[in-house]
């Protein structure tokens, strides 16, 4: 009887490498952030260009829909423009934007839920309908499509935990979901993905 020898620690998102002192590229970015915070739209566009890929990826995976993701990405940057003057540099701008994006997406999700009265009150995630696009074992869906096809609650937990590296307690605080519930949603999401990806 041998245990699986593979390392079990889930990979955390790669930390941002510290910029070497005097790095002109990093200095240019910091200058752009300061200028954007002071109201310079050209500098803000530079900030947008630098970070839009990361923000869009988060929105796309959490929303599960390209058009929604585009709108959410724009929401994030509009919100960023409003709040940038309050950015104190205690974290990197990327981290700050990332948190902002998570909040924007979760607010949108909660708003949608309120509007459609689709409030999930059950802890029994197995009762959630599996995504309709998951078909036969022969299906080899693209990873992004498979994530998009997850049920909304499970997708949110899955993306935050598996891709963005949030801990259970952090997700519980962000989403207002009990740790037990989100843990079950996470496991369910993995099962659905493994089925969808045919592994």
């Amino acid at each position: 009887m041998t245990a699986d020898p593979e390392p079990l620690a889930f990979p955390a998102p790669p930390p941002a490498a510290p910029a070497p002192a005097g790095d002109p590229v990093e200095e240019g970015r910091e200058r752009a952030v300061a200028q954007a915070a002071a109201g310079d739209p050209d500098a803000f566009e530079a900030v947008y260009r630098q970070h839009v890929g990361r923000v869009f990826a988060l929105c796309l995976r959490m929303a599960g829909d390209r058009r929604d993701a585009e709108e959410l990405t724009q929401d994030v940057f509009v919100r960023a423009w409003e709040r940038l003057p309050g950015f104190r540099g205690e974290s990197t701008l990327g981290t700050w934007l990332h948190r902002l994006a998570v909040n924007v997406v979760l607010e949108k999700t909660r708003g949608d839920l309120r509007r459609t009265r689709r409030v999930e009150t059950t802890d029994d995630v197995a009762a959630l309908a599996p995504p309709a696009v998951v078909g036969s074992p022969e299906d080899r869906m693209d990873l992004e499509q498979a994530i998009a096809a997850l049920p909304p609650g499970a997708r949110t937990v899955f993306v935050l935990h598996e891709i963005e590296g949030y801990r259970h307690d952090e997700i519980a605080r962000l989403t207002g979901t009990a740790v037990g519930t989100l843990r079950a949603q996470l496991h369910r999401a993995r099962q659905l993905l493994m089925e969808a990806l045919g592994r």
Binding site: M1, D4, T73, L143
Partner: protein
């Protein structure tokens, strides 16, 4: 722990996530080693994890979203006062946003004065000696009146302030040797902050010439500059 308890309780996920305590982990490891089904499940979970780890962290949107962001900022700036206007976009200047900017400038200028009057014994001396008597007030160069040109207020409106500041700076410069290097450094640092506030206020006013709050702010900031210069000049003559 039975096979069902391990599977139904999500223990394999917790095992892969490294969330199990030492004792629980040992139990699950022993079971996984003996159970083909659970070993295969662990393999699938690890394969999924590896695939996710390789997924890109950034995905470029299929179309350029910046024009949409820009258009929304322009619309919002035009619609309400909640958003500072992107300078190059907006034609409507929200007053509240500029009032906030004005308060920020005022705080900046006030901070410069506080720097001078409160940061050291030298500056305390500045305050004490510079505490204006009636005579001292009368001896100060009269500050030019704040312009009320509104939309027509241009650079010329502040020429009086600039000239008075230049005169005082020249006086101070001539007496610089009478002041300690510390005092000179503090005064110069304060003046740099105030000059920065003036430059910002002037730039804002150039964009929004009709903003009376900015007009008043600029006048106040100039007067603060003259006050700092005057106190420093006074000190230099008293030492």
């Amino acid at each position: 722990m039975t096979h069902s308890a391990i599977r139904d309780g999500g223990r394999l996920h917790d095992y892969v996530d490294g969330l199990l305590s030492g004792a629980e982990r040992a139990v699950v490891e022993a079971h996984v080693g003996a159970c083909n089904e659970c070993r295969e499940e662990v393999r699938r979970l690890l394969a999924l994890r590896a695939r996710l780890a390789a997924a890109p962290r950034a995905i470029e949107p299929p179309r350029d979203l910046w024009p949409g962001v820009r258009a929304r900022l322009v619309r919002r700036a035009a619609r309400d006062d909640a958003v500072p206007p992107p300078r190059a976009f907006a034609t409507v200047r929200p007053r509240a946003a500029w009032r906030r900017a004005a308060r920020r400038h005022a705080r900046l200028a006030a901070a410069a004065v506080v720097l001078v009057v409160a940061s050291s014994a030298v500056t305390a001396t500045l305050v004490r000696r510079g505490n204006p008597t009636r005579g001292a007030v009368a001896a100060r160069p009269a500050a030019p009146p704040a312009p009320h040109g509104g939309a027509g207020a241009g650079d010329a409106s502040y020429a009086g302030y600039e000239r008075a500041a230049r005169d005082l700076a020249a006086t101070l410069d001539a007496r610089r040797a009478a002041l300690s290097p510390e005092t000179v450094a503090k005064v110069e640092a304060s003046l740099r902050v105030i000059d920065s506030a003036i430059a910002e206020a002037r730039a804002a006013l150039a964009r929004d010439p009709g903003n009376q709050a900015l007009v008043e702010l600029l006048g106040v900031t100039y007067r603060q500059k003259l006050d700092v210069l005057h106190r420093a000049a006074e000190l230099s003559t008293e030492i």
